[in-house]
């Protein structure tokens, strides 16, 4: 752990990030947006009902909305933080010097990834006091919040890994960003659409919910972060729905965990392999 934290790239990146005004303004605007949403929601709800009460089911709805906002934030900000990690060094002509140091490619890549993840974690932690307001009104357990944050972390890691990988293999930052955002759109949007299309077609063909297993539909549902969050917030209803539409009784969170750990490991390995030229390769 101590060795991981003494990674020179990580220390340098954190130093540079927190000397930039962009980071502070980013955190301020993020917290302001959260405050406006939460307090606005509470105000509107209490005003509309005219009772002055904020019921647990309303608190639960606010929690759901906040969770999706946080997910959107992760999917939107992580590529921005990671897709330029290596390519910006290349464009600024600092990469060659970095590559001639004694640091291993793994150290450089993990240093870059960890610094980006650390900043995102700070954003999430900074928003926790606002998030925790839901506990005042009930409807959500701390354990549920903890599990959701664990999956946020896994998603950040995977998206960050993908961003770093594109940043390493693509020379231009702008192209790497487009590729990373494209992948995000695929994972968060297209996979859900494919799931709906497949299950919809099955339903139309048989006239009822799935009678035979639909592994492809289940797979696409499993790798979709929007579906995952839904199954974490409303486990009974959403798990039942997915089991009925795909006829496969395998927890979505398990499929998601396996897939995103695999993606993270593959992305980091590719980035590590491609960062430096392979001097040993025979031509």
């Amino acid at each position: 752990m101590k060795q991981a934290l003494s990674n020179p790239v990580l220390i340098k990146e954190i130093k540079l990030r927190f000397r930039s005004m962009k980071s502070f303004t980013g955190i301020i605007f993020y917290l302001l947006a959260m405050c406006v949403f939460v307090f606005g929601f509470i105000m509107l709800t209490t005003s509309f009902t005219g009772t002055g009460y904020f019921r647990p089911e309303e608190s639960f709805f606010m929690f759901t909305m906040l969770t999706y906002i946080q997910l959107g934030l992760i999917l939107f900000i992580t590529p921005g933080l990671t897709a330029g990690a290596i390519s910006t060094e290349r464009e600024k002509q600092t990469l060659n010097i970095l590559l001639t140091t004694a640091q291993t490619s793994f150290q450089i890549i993990t240093g870059k990834l960890t610094s980006s993840i650390a900043f995102l974690l700070l954003l999430l932690v900074a928003g926790l006091p606002i998030y925790s307001l839901v506990f005042l009104f009930g409807g959500v357990s701390p354990g549920q919040l903890g599990i959701i944050f664990l999956f946020f972390f896994l998603t950040m890691l995977a998206v960050g890994g993908i961003g770093i990988m594109y940043s390493t293999i693509i020379r231009k930052t702008i192209v790497a960003m487009i590729a990373t955002y494209g992948t995000m759109i695929f994972l968060a949007g297209v996979t859900g659409f494919i799931y709906l299309v497949i299950t919809g077609m099955n339903t139309m063909a048989t006239g009822s919910l799935a009678t035979s297993p639909a592994p492809i539909a289940h797979f696409f549902a499993s790798i979709n972060p929007v579906v995952l969050i839904l199954t974490l917030i409303m486990p009974t209803q959403s798990d039942d729905f997915i089991t009925q539409t795909t006829n496969i009784d395998f927890p979505i969170w398990a499929g998601y965990t396996i897939f995103y750990i695999f993606i993270t490991v593959c992305s980091i390995l590719i980035a590590v392999k491609k960062l430096r030229v392979n001097m040993k390769k025979m031509r």
Binding site: P8, K15, R19, I97, L99, R276, M279, R283
Partner: protein, 309 residues
């Protein structure tokens, strides 16, 4: 210390480097001269483990750049021709980051960094942001950075390019100090006279091929081949001109009536030159002076590279 064996780099059918062979002893200051695109930076990039050669290999202190790249990185200090710096990082932090990148402990870095800043005359700038330094200062800081892990070999790709005359002189002085420390230094430039003063050996590269290698004097005499000789005469120039034209090693004889002198190109050895002077005196030529003109290194370089093309 450095051994380059048949190093070749091809891009499609274009040879950026073609069968380069070179051996340098420890402590040598080697100047690599060539026009833009001649292959200097390609060679240095391969030595710095940034570029994979198509064929051949290079060894630094017996370590292959292909097989022991990680070990080679610890032995070299590399300064590229173009480099950037990090924004929002101060000069001492810049060195601290690279020191940590080479695994140097914090305690050692605290001692080393002031010494390095002093070496490159940047002590007064240690708390300045690197991106706000002048180009010359950035070059010197980058040089200090390449020295942070006390490498045996320094690979400096055009370290003085783009610098004003004062900054060039400062850079040259620092390099002389490094030479005094016994470092093996490879330094490239497209300006031969710039290197002549500080280098023990010079290699001229053109079209990816090493076309000349040796000391500055050797290169001048071996490859330029011809020396320019001026003879000041008392009396008729025509007689003297006819006499010199008859010598087999003499060419392009020109008379200067105003200065009463004859200038010609001479290809013979130093012994032949002595014989020529003796003969001229025996021939009753009234010679006031017989002198060899200083060969302009720029002209030598132009002559060598023209021949290679």
């Amino acid at each position: 210390m450095i051994e380059i064996k048949g190093l070749t780099k091809k891009y499609g059918s274009f040879y950026a480097l073609n069968d380069l062979n070179l051996t340098l002893q420890e402590g040598t200051v080697f100047g690599f001269v060539g026009a833009n695109g001649a292959g200097k930076s390609t060679t240095f990039s391969i030595l710095a483990t940034l570029l994979q050669p198509t064929a051949g290999d290079a060894f630094i202190n017996g370590k292959s750049v292909k097989k022991d790249a990680h070990e080679v990185r610890k032995l070299i200090g590399y300064m590229p021709d173009f480099f950037g710096v990090y924004d929002q990082l101060k000069a001492n932090e810049y060195l601290d980051f690279y020191g940590a990148s080479y695994g140097i402990s914090e305690a050692e870095r605290e001692i080393l960094i002031p010494q390095l800043l002093d070496l490159v005359n940047l002590t007064h700038k240690r708390y300045e942001y690197v991106d706000l330094l002048s180009r010359g200062m950035k070059q010197r800081l980058c040089l200090a950075r390449s020295l942070i892990h006390d490498p045996k070999v320094l690979i400096l790709d055009e370290p003085a390019s783009g610098l004003d005359p004062r900054a060039r002189v400062e850079m040259r002085d620092i390099l002389k100090q490094l030479k005094g420390m016994g470092k093996t230094i490879l330094i490239s430039s497209h300006i031969l006279p710039e290197l002549a003063e500080m280098c023990d050996e010079i290699g001229v590269i053109d079209g990816g091929k090493l076309i000349a290698h040796g000391s500055v004097a050797e290169i001048q005499s071996q490859l330029a081949g011809e020396r320019i000789i001026t003879v000041k005469i008392k009396g008729l120039l025509e007689n003297a001109s006819t006499f010199f034209e008859e010598d087999p090693f003499v060419s392009k004889v020109e008379m200067n009536d105003e200065k009463n002198s004859i200038t010609f190109k001479y290809r013979g050895s130093e012994e032949d030159q002595i014989e020529l002077l003796k003969k001229a005196l025996d021939h009753s030529l009234r010679i006031i002076s017989f002198s060899e003109a200083e060969t302009d290194l720029e002209d030598v370089f132009m002559e060598i590279t023209k021949g290679a093309k």
